[in-house]
Amino acid sequence: MKRVFIHGIGAVSPAGWDVPSLRRALDCDSPIATAPLERPGWKVPLPVRRVPQPIPKLPFLAHARLRRTSPISLYAAAAGMEALHNGCYKRTEGHRLGVIFCITAGCVQYSRRFYDEALRNPATASPLLFPETVFNAPGSHLGALLESASVNYTLVGDPGAYLQALALGAGWLSEGKADSCLVVGAEEIDWLMADAYRHFSRRVVCGEGAGALYLSNTPPAEGAGVELLAITTPRLYLNGMSRLQAIRQVRGELPCAGADALLCDSAAGWPVRDRAELDAWSDWNGARLSPKRVLGEGLMAAGAWQCVAAVDRLREGRHRTALVSIAGSHQQAIGACFSTGDNG
């Protein structure tokens, strides 16, 4: 299998519309302030962490395909374009750019609005809303924005599916299905999603946004860049496998990391759910980063933020190796290892 390098990273989060704002928020290591989200039928709003308005407005968001889209498509487009931009991607004739878009909840705002209209009167439900409810609408918009006619998949799963998508992208590069590959994970907040999460914990605060990695087999021109070294087998919480056992198996499969390595985990400040991951990594003595504690439970976006944050710290020269641990809430545990290219 060919080597895979991370050429570009992009992020949209409650901290802002780019990677530097994500970096600053994580360096502060303080949870971003919540905002109230009205929940119909309740007097008390739900606390959430929303993406702020983009200032200045990003020019590509005026693209015809993005005019009527829901926020998730805008987040995916912005993170994807940032990753391609800092990866120095230039569209050339014959270049096959593969696109993988990943979600857990997906286009929930338009889905909720459309179903609400359908219940009120199906005869007048908006035909403009319905196509935007389809899982692959954001991935399609991204493909159109990039004018990429190559292979384009939308994957649905828990946040660990983002690492599965990176492995899929690496496979496309290896098999010659694509010349380079953009992998984006995104989510948007709606009261329905925040309400759903509240059934599992009243402490969880939902976040929204997107993260993107741009992959290629060729080493970046400048410096050694960051290389994807490993993605573990996903371990499902199934047939007697506990969360703790699954995370331990994932850890056992990851390459050994030196004392200066970074662990970027999926702890969200939700004690019951975090316990297994904290226990499995309890003897970790190196640096640790938990993006969800700062940005909120961003589901698939959070899986992508973890990877973006890990790669960003490597690019900044703050570590030579970064391990990513994703312990999804009910499906699986999975991990990845990134390294600066000069680390062997």
């Binding site: 199906p122 439900a125 692959n136 399609s140 649905v156 496979g171 309400d195 490993a230 199934l238």
Partner: protein, 412 residues
């Protein structure tokens, strides 16, 4: 380890279909469906699952659910939670599992295509959240079982195996993409066997969506008919067991067909409308042929996406004409959607199963139409009949420009 892949890549590894299961409005199981598709029976009827009194169209290819479903090792409380989509998936998976003789299998990846997963549970969740905002009863279960990965986990639990789960949601091409990706996993050396397919159940949201777009036929779904006026929605599931030839032959598994080609491309023209000349469809068919090492002349039948909408069928007809490069006159074409409607995320998988039935039985699946669209330079299969079939091609095109093509071949 997913990356780097530990297996030995062998793109020439033949991928065989060693098990298949299906449920559609035509019936439950291989034989009922083969009989129905061979006759071209049409199974569209009034919708009973939800209120359609205020909709423009009131019919769909709704399934009459069997009295009992196979639940394998699922505990009684897990069985009680099964939604309609998961039930369809379980029925198809059980048939494929039995046919492939998989008892004792402990490890196998699952790759499934769907567009709406447990949408009916999502609808129930929303109605309760609005009507009784403080009531939490059963809501957590609905949240979990709405998720399509949970439905895949139910399959693994029911049959007692473990494996990575990949859910591809490429709209109406999802099922074909899932099968194509499953074949890629075997050829890349990542595994020897995959459970794959597609499923979708009728839901109020999706039915209303297609109704709002006026994409549903108020008369009868007639793919490639000059006077076609829309599609019919349907529901169902098909599951295939794909296996490397070495493993299948080694364990003496039954061989139904060979998955010989897969192609995928993206149409950037519009979110819901195909590029009129079918550029991405053409690319998808060409890639599948190149993957199979076949020319259009060697394809004996095309199972078209053929939704019955004016724009889709004309773009697909243009693509088939261009792909055949002047030789389309010898390639019979039909669409299974004339019989069982459009199964969305299940369509590609169910139509792949129909192709395998045709290869095994050496017959062409007919469709009932009146006047062929003159844009079709190829013969439309309008009557039941036998044919020599070695290689058949199945197209699936979806919202968002997801285009996928599979080629299935007869095995000796």
């Amino acid at each position: 380890m997913l990356f780097p892949c530990q297996g030995r890549k062998n793109s020439a590894t033949p991928v065989l279909v060693t098990g298949a299961g299906i449920i559609t409005a035509m019936g439950q199981g291989w034989n009922a469906n083969a009989e129905g598709f061979r006759a071209g029976r049409r199974e569209v009827r009034p919708v009973t699952l939800f209120d359609v009194s205020r909709h423009r169209v009131k019919t769909a290819a709704e399934i009459t659910m069997p009295k009992s479903i196979p639940t394998g090792r699922l505990r009684p409380n897990a069985v009680r939670r099964l939604d309609r989509a998961t039930q369809l998936l379980l029925i198809a998976a059980d048939e494929a599992w039995q046919q492939a003789r998989l008892d004792g299998t402990k490890e196998m990846p699952v790759v499934l295509g769907t567009t709406s997963g447990g949408m009916s549970l999502g609808e129930t969740y929303y109605r309760q959240a609005i009507e009784r905002p403080r009531a939490a009863s059963r809501q957590p279960t609905r949240v979990l079982h709405y998720l399509s990965q949970t439905q895949a986990m139910v399959i693994e639990e029911a049959f007692g195996f473990q494996g990575s789960i990949t859910i591809i949601a490429n709209a109406c091409a999802s099922g074909s993409n899932a099968i194509g990706h499953a074949a890629d996993l075997i050829r890349s050396g990542q595994c020897e066997m995959v459970l794959t397919g597609g499923y979708d159940a009728l839901s109020e949201l999706v039915f209303t969506g297609f109704d709002s777009l006026q994409a549903l036929s108020p008369t009868q779904c007639r793919p490639f008919d000059a006077n076609r006026d829309g599609l019919a929605l349907g529901e169902g599931a098909a599951v295939l067991i794909l296996e490397s030839e070495a493993r299948a032959r080694g364990r003496g598994a039954p061989v139904l067909a060979r998955l010989s080609g897969y192609g995928a491309a993206t149409d950037c023209h519009h979110l819901t409308q195909p590029q009129p000349q079918g550029n991405a469809a053409l690319q998808s068919m060409q890639l599948a042929c190149a993957d199979a090492g076949l020319t259009p002349r060697q394809i004996n039948y095309v199972n078209a996406h053929g939704t019955g909408t004016p724009l889709n069928d004309s773009a697909e007809a243009a693509a088939i004409n261009r792909w055949a490069n002047g030789d389309a006159g010898g390639i019979p074409v039909s669409s299974s959607k004339a019989c069982i409607g459009h199964l969305l995320g299940a369509a590609g998988a169910v139509e792949a199963a129909v192709c395998i039935m045709a290869l095994q039985g050496q017959w062409l699946p007919p469709m009932n139409i009146n006047d062929a669209d003159p844009a079709c330079n190829f013969p439309l299969v309008r009557a039941a009949g036998s044919a020599r079939l070695d290689h058949v091609l199945s197209n699936s095109f979806g919202f968002g420009g997801a285009n996928a093509t599979l080629i299935l071949s007869r095995t000796s």
